[in-house]
Symmetry: C2
Amino acid sequence: MTSRAADLFRVEDEVGVLIRRIKHVIAERACEVHPELHPMSYPLLAHIGRCGPLRAVALCDAFAMDKGGVSRQVQGLVDLGLIERQPDPEDRRATLLAMSPEGTRRMSAVSRSRSDRFAERLISWTDADLAAFADQLGRYNAALGD
Amino acid sequence: MTSRAADLFRVEDEVGVLIRRIKHVIAERACEVHPELHPMSYPLLAHIGRCGPLRAVALCDAFAMDKGGVSRQVQGLVDLGLIERQPDPEDRRATLLAMSPEGTRRMSAVSRSRSDRFAERLISWTDADLAAFADQLGRYNAALGD
DNA sequence: GGAATATGGTTGCGTACTGCAACTGTTGCT
DNA sequence: AGCAACAGTTGCAGTACGCAACCATATTCC
């Protein structure tokens, strides 16, 4: 087995581990943001927060998930008052999803919070490490894209 | 927001995207290895393949998942003949899980396969990129550990 | 040696997530 | 106007998984 093949396998294995372990962190985060926030909705909320107002179909593309699931999760976020629906001026079929003031407030409260034990665990990472890791994740996700 | 905080948020977002998108790749892989292999069992199989014979409880730790779920998935892998149970000489309560010849054969067949479109998508990554990414994922997973 | 406790693993149960498909309402093309 | 394409919603069903109760073997402590 070539070293490249071994590394491909290693990445595969580590990603497999990641997607299981991360669920606990995500659940914890979701609970901190809002006790009734469904864990799996947190990534959508974070994405809306980071990538600005966008359509539901953009979430389907970004997360490669079904329209139905997105619709339900978005409904949950709206019900909790964390995001708001705005009519899309460019297309009356669509609605834009944006963080609500409440959602923004709660998200930033959590990221400043001491209870963010996860960030503490990355304390040994330099800023450059972190930025490089984010870049690579982005490249990897792009490679996963259709 | 500091640049470090922004990068933490970016990592969080990218990981959120990853764990959704990767499921499609995993499902594809699982199907290539064995058409009846449950998608979510593939990561366990890969881990057994890479980390040698180990106990079910080691899988619980590695993936931070429940004993019950592991037990069921392992049963599935055994039923498909991809892994074998061996008595653990050090503890008669435990059983060691190891790749079967059939499992090894199928896994290596897939990794050599032309149908591994995923590896092709990473063709622009240098060997060093890949190794560095694997390392960082490992560090990240370690940070997620209890 | 024997009881109490801890550990590896299995199974039953309930729930959450999500893909699929059918449906509504809007837009754009011809 | 009519039809195809697209944004989003909802019902249905299957899968995956955590929890708790359980059995078997090990270990600890008296």
